[in-house]
Amino acid sequence: MELKKHNIDRRRWLLLTGSGLVAGLMPRIGWTDGDAESSASNVVFKLAETGLVGKVVVVGGGMAGATAAKYLRLWGGAGLSVTLVEPAAAYTSNIMSNLVLNGGRSINTLSFNYGALSANYGVAVKHATLTSIDTAGKQVLLSDGSTLPYDRLVLAPGVEFEDAYGLTQSDYESMTPHAWRAGAQTLLLRDQLAAMPANGTFVLTIPKAPYRCPPGPYERACLVADYLKTFKGAGSRVIVLDENAGIQAGVESFTRALNVIHAGVLSYHPGVSGIAIDATSKTVSYVDKSGVPQALSANAINPIAPHRAAGSAAGGWLAEAGLANGSSGRWALVNVLSYESTVKPGVHVIGDASQCGMPKAGHVANQEAKICADAIIRLLAGGQPDPQPVANSACYSPITASSASWLTAVYQYDPVSSSMKIAANGGSIANASATEAAEISTGNFEQMNVWFSTLMSDSFA
């Protein structure tokens, strides 16, 4: 019915225009095509005329860093010099990368380069890695030996993955991929799935929160179960070992997926500990929530390894700069009005590396970046950050190859606790919780594609 309505629109459009113009425009005005490359926004806003002059260095070109660089220029104006430091030529989106595993998407559709940030907003892009930060001298040292001075520094380095469960980085890269940073490991896991025997066993492990993308592991378990029972037999098994006491996000949808949609294929074991994985023999041992040791063999193992802010391990650049002052030294504590470090003035940390009380996820990182950019512009102009920022999270999760659920929350600043709190019922933080879709549907799956392409355009174009 929706498509029919859409077709009427198209016909009316054709009737209205009826010229050669249509041929050039039609490919861009239809229903979403799910093609990330063609999702760049057609509308670009001129840089604000603020008269502001200053230098901002943004480190890390993921969701948070790209958005910060864009909005610093867009809202700060041409006098605000913004340099984005990022070693890679393009960012590969983690969002939607679970759909590469079941063949629903090509990984190429998840690639976003920095050309639009330069062309549309005048962001200077420096392909290098950060070596160290001189917070006293207000400059960063890069891998190519150069230094960049700053008035304000924005760090959006994302996460790094720990050697865990007896596995090393080399194991993740060649045998048991975590595939929790989209790229080569995503393709390796996809290939391992494709090579699964009939009615085989797939084991997925989930680390203790906080980890990147709270619903992500459950989404992946669903998609793998869907793929295996469709292509590898109804006797296939997906065993989820969760170090947490229960499902971390999207409880209603994922419980339904577990008990109804993927019943018999998906089995969920919360509260496990002592996970040990042998990558060669593909065996897993663990202690179940009752304290009983367990062991199992698998055809493929996907350990979502515990992670921490990039550079936060001993000797890492974030730790060396004194910025890894969050829980267990794994994250950077920030003031959520500005995302400025609680210990190092002039240095802001956004995205997954920060400890800000909101989920580590791309949509949220985009909004953290805007709050941070706005605060920096106000601070450079001699003002103060917005005292009442609001952030939001929207997240669509595929449950099968063609259906999805969603989970969303608005976060209001609570001056009593100086933190962001979920709000509902007219912006109230009293007893508010995130909202889940009432249904798992194909309509949600279609909306998901619009959400993704628009979010990526808002961040990278």
């Binding site: 009316r12 050039g24 425009l25 861009r28 509308v43 909005y71 912006g427 309509g443 619009v450 959400w451």
Partner: protein, 136 residues
């Protein structure tokens, strides 16, 4: 720009924005043809309209000015992940006259529509600041 049509149908709502959407498409196309900045290869059409805006070339983005009054801007930027930078697209444009439609979602069950869930996370004053910004 394709999403103007998607917006009419995405939420399955009974709003009739087709004409407004088509008008918006015409307006935007008149400002430069709306080329993607990517190399997706869609051929650009040379049109008379494109020459009306000297800032654009075929394939270049359409340049729009931002409101000078930035009150409500940071709040409104919460909308941009799904409605495009400046609220100019995505699920649907929410600029101008369409900005106030967010209020219609306040009475719908939150779990029935992601937009309803979102709208109900803001205070009335915040929604009015967002609307005012998007109407500038």
């Amino acid at each position: 720009m394709r999403t103007y049509h998607g917006t009419v149908t995405v939420f399955g709502m009974d709003r009739r924005r087709k004409w407004a959407a088509i008008f918006a498409v015409l307006l935007l196309s008149a400002c430069g043809g709306g080329g993607d900045s990517s190399d997706s290869g869609a051929p650009e059409q040379e049109t008379e309209q494109e020459t009306e805006n000297s800032n654009t070339v075929p394939g270049a983005p359409i340049m729009l000015a931002q409101p000078e009054d930035t009150t409500g801007r940071l709040l409104a930027s919460n909308c941009f992940q799904c409605h495009g930078t400046g609220g100019a697209g995505g699920f649907e444009s929410i600029r101008g006259n369409e900005a106030s439609e967010v209020l219609d979602y306040l009475t719908q069950p939150a779990s029935s529509d992601i937009m309803a869930a979102h709208a109900q996370g803001y205070t009335r004053a915040q929604l009015e600041a967002i609307i005012a910004y998007l109407q500038r």
